[in-house]
Each structure stands twice: as C-alpha cells, then as structure tokens.
Amino acid sequence: MNTRADLAAAVATPSIAAYLDAARALRDGRYDLGPLRPLRVAIARAFTVELLLPYLGVECVLAGVRVETHVGQFGTYRQELLDPASSIFAFEPDVAILAIGAQDLVPTLVSDFLLRSPDEIAAARDDAVAELRSLAEAFRSTSSATLLIHTIPPPTFPAAGAGDRRLRPGQRETFEQLNQGIARIADQVPGVEVFDLAAHIAGAGQVGWEDPRFDLLARAPFAAKHLPGLARAYARVLALIAGVRRKCVVVDLDNTLWGGVVGEDGWEGVKLGTDYPGAAFSAFQRALLDLRQRGVLIAIASKNEDADVQRVFDRSEMLLKREHIASWRVDWRDKATSVTEIAEELGLGLDAVVFIDDDPTERALVSRILPDVEVPDWPREPAEFVQALHAIPSLDTLRITGEDRGRADLYRTEARREEHRRHSASIEDFLRSLELRAAVARVGPATAARAAQLTQRTNQFNLTLRRYSESEIAALAASPDHEVYVLSLRDRFGDAGRVALGIVAYTEEAARIEALLMSCRVLGRGVERFLLAHLAAAASSRAATVLEGTYTPGPRNAQVADFYSRHGFVPHASLPHRWSLDLREGGLEPPSWIVSEETTGVIGRQ
C-alpha cells in the first residue's frame, strides 16, 4: 500500500498528468494515509476554479486533510451567499471559499485608474470592503461554517508603470489598503479567515501567474505552472482551519542546528555565524526562533555528549539559547525513544510533534516507529533549511493569539528544571545547573505593594505569620529602626520575580527578624539561606552583634519550626520558639550555587 510519502513523491515533479493520476489513485483508495481530517469545502466563485480541484485534493491530503468539494454556479457568488436555499448551504460545508477577482470586486480600480480621482478610488476601495463584509455577515447569519475570503492580487502591470509608487494614491498602494480592509473583516465577523492570495502571488512570481489566454477563453485565470503552488497554499490554510496544527518541533543538532559534528569537530569547530555554511545554520536558528515566538515549542534530540553540546550553546553565535529549548534529550539512545519522552515531558501527543533531522536513517526510524510524528523530508543543503521549515504546513498559523506568544515560555521553565533534576548526579549539581541569581534590596515605594502581598499570601514558608498592609510596609521601610528586604530570583529559565521577604527591627546591639517568608514556588533551592545570610550581613554592617529570630506556629508552617536551628542559631535558654545568632562569630555563608546580583538600594521594577 502506498503512503503519504509515496503520494508526495508522485507529485514531486509537478505536472497536470501527475496530479490527475494521484487524484485518481486517492479516489480509488490506493493510498494508506492514516488519519486525515475530513473537510467539506464549498466554493462560491466568479471564475473557473475546477482546474484547481485535482491539485487541491492531493495537496490537502499531503497537509493532513481529506476534502470533499462543491463548486457553486459560475458568477453567482452573491446570490449563493445570500440565499439560504443555495447549493452552497445545501452542501453543508465546513468551509466556504469565496473566490472572486479584482474584476468582480473592484472593477473601478482595474481599468482607467489614471482617470479616477482620489475620492473615487477611496470610495471604490471602501465600498468593496463594505460589500465583502456584508456578504460575510449574511453568510454568518445562515451558516456556522468558516468563511474563507482572500486578498486581491494587485495588477501585475500598474496603469502608471514604474511611476505607480510615486502616484497618490498609487494603484498597488490602493490594493494594499483594500487588502488590509479585507483582512480586518476577519476581526469583525466571527468565523472568517483570510487567505493572503496577494502575498502568495507575490511570492510565487507576480509576472506570469495569470495566463490571459485561458482567462479570456474560460475565465481560468491561473497559469498552469502556478496551480500546484496555489493548491498547496490553499491546502495549508484549509488544514489549519481543520485544526491540523503541531505544537512542537524536535530538532537534531549536528548538521541540523549547526554545521559539522561536535564530537569530531569540537565545540569551537562546528560551523555557525556569518560565513557559509555557518550563516545558513544561523538563519535556520533564526527561523526556529520565529516559530517559537508564535507558540511552537522547540525541543532537541541529539546523540552526543551533553558536555560538548552545552559548550556549543555557550558560543555567542548560537542564536537559539538554552532558555529557548522546551525539552532536551542529549544522549546515545535512539531518537524514537527521545521523541517519545519529549512528547511525554511536554504533555503533548505524538501527533503534535514534527521531527527534523539531516540524517535520512534517523528520519526513517522515527517515521516508522512513530507514524504519528510528522517527519518532513529534509534538504542536504543547509541554505535550503529555512524554506524547508516554512514548507511544513502544520507549523503555520492563521492568527497569533496572546496565548501563542507566551506559550513557549510557559513550557520551557518547568520542563527544563525537571529534565535537569533527572540528569543531575546530585541535588547540588542540579541547583548549580539552574544558574540561580538572587538580588536582595530594601523595599521602596514601587515595591511595597508586592511586599505586602507576599506577607498576606505566604502560609507555609512563613516564620512569624504576620500580615502587613502596603502602608504598614511603607511605614516600616521609611522607619529608621526597621528595614524591609525583598529578594528577587532568576535562573537560566527565567525570572521568578520577588519571592522572599525579611523584616528586621534594629535596637542598639540586636537585630530582630520580625518577618521571614518565602514563596513556595522556589522551595528547595537555598533561597531562604541566601536571604538569611544577607540579613546577618546587613545586621553586622549596622553594628548589631546578635541576630534574633522567632517562630510562630500556625496551621501550615510546621516545615519551618526548626528553621533557625538548621541554620546555626542557638535556641533561647528559657523562651520557646526563639533563637539567636552571635554575629561576632562571622555571620552565615550563603549557598555557593546562588550568585549574588548587584543590588541597588531599592528594587525599581514593579
């Protein structure tokens, strides 16, 4: 039985006959394609789209969708979208495509452009957008299907020729504005998506995309050589509408993320940077970062020594930093195992994963053992990597949400800590590998609110359980015999923010800790020790000779009952829950794995 890869190979050299053969083979069930999402697509149109259909069927399958199409009557798109009894609605589509051209929508902007006044041009543009919008609204009132509209390619040969860019308004400029208006309809009418046909045509080659002969004969505007690319672009959008979207790309390292093999060429020898071939790998990294910023997780599966890999990641030419990687598997196990573990760690199904490797053997292994993982063919030439990455439809997106922008950051933090915990030989190695950096600062007006919030919300790691309002904190901070300290923590995964607080009252020779607390998010990293050492040092610098601490038992803070004892404080001779530390004996050592960052007097950032 033929697979999807065979189908891709059958149309790798695109020709009409190859696509027709493939479309028939699909129809006759001669391919075993695994799960495909069904999608019913109705096309309301003003021109001949039938020539595109065999290409569309094949390209949709390659993008993970099985389409069934219905084509509306020629040139009656308005009636068909407005009439609830039309064949478009009778087909009960999942998606309706509105396929119209500039001639249909904005004839005024196509002919005699130089005779039109600016007002006339603006009115034609705005009327066209308004008409499309009202069609979209009418459609929405009848059907819950997605409506796919497209932008209108500007004229290949503007009326003003080379002077179009200087014209006010220019013809291309007017089409750009028209297309902006069309795109905005998708914001205004729910369930409307936009296919940027104008951008597709510009990318495919504006000159020659139309074949005027077939347009004149049969209103079949698209030149034959552009039909495969156009079908592919439509298929990509349809697949995204159908929900074929993958969330994670697992990349190999050697000869994929950088040039050469780190185990042979050394960390300093692998190719990166501004010269070929290093520049090609850097460009690929840049493209991966773009994907990450729109919500795709980047993971690494590599057969290597981790130490070698880490040294490459230390190189400044690495655009992809450690913190960009959601999950790592750098070891000598097979890649199918690594990919499986990565998916588990990130809580994703294998059908959400794309695997990229320069080695065809690794690709074959992963696609055979894990058929749900998408394993694109990968070019040998690194200069082609960026294009190959963007050719993967399931990593594309129709719109970017705020959630998309933050997703990669959300995942990376916990996944990487977990991975390090697993791989670290000892807990101290783990803590060291986190690259913790702490800063302690006295509270100022900008941070009093957060300090108060910490005292109110922290129940477990809280020695005295005293709650303070923002104004109380501000008053203590301004008082000459009190200090309020707040600790901010960062590690290689990100900024944890202000997570611990200490309030100290100073008398003549003694410093008394009135509050000491820490957010449970950062338990187990030695942060409390760091803060305590800081308090001791601060007290010494104010000539205190003793640092006193108390513990107030509460329902949930038993874990800190022996906190002071564990840090070398001496219990009070008679009073319970009181300890003291003699500062003349040299204070406290902070944990060696936390780097102290420059502290200014007051933490500024809110």
């Binding site: 027709l20 028939r24 002969r213 004969l217």
Partner: protein, 81 residues
C-alpha cells in the same frame, strides 16, 4: 507512429483517463469525458509536456488527438531554428 505521437497518446490517456487503445482516434465528439473542462486541462497538459503555447484562436479547434499532434509538431518546427 513517431515519438511525438507516442508521448502525446500516453499523456492523453492519463489526462482523460482513457484506455491506451482508444486514444489515437479520440476526439471531443466521440469521447464522453472530453468536455470543455477536460479540453482546457488537456491542452494545458500538452503545453506543459511539449513546451509549446497554443494561440487562443486554435485552442477550441484542437478537438482531436490527431489535430493536437499536428499543432504540436507545427509549433515545435516553428521553434526549431
């Protein structure tokens, strides 16, 4: 049958989904699947295969495999030096 005709027959069979035996004498009139859409598709495929470009005038007239073959031959000869 020359090489051009052999290639053309194979192409027509694929595009119109015809058995090879019926191709050589096929025409729009006598072939059920050869409608106006198939006609466009076939001529586009022929242009693609042979690297020629028909004029809009002759496209409607190329309604049999024989006529298409003649037109291709003529266009190729015009192209050749």
């Amino acid at each position: 049958m020359n090489a051009l005709n052999g290639r053309l027959s194979g192409l027509v069979a694929r595009v119109l989904d015809l058995p090879a035996a019926e191709v050589d004498n096929a025409s729009a009139d006598s072939t059920p699947g050869w409608d106006s859409l198939a006609h466009l598709r076939l001529l586009m495929a022929v242009e693609e295969e042979f690297g020629v470009s028909f004029s809009p005038d002759e496209i409607p007239e190329l309604d049999s495999v024989r006529r298409i073959g003649d037109a291709v031959e003529r266009l190729q000869n015009e192209k050749a030096p």
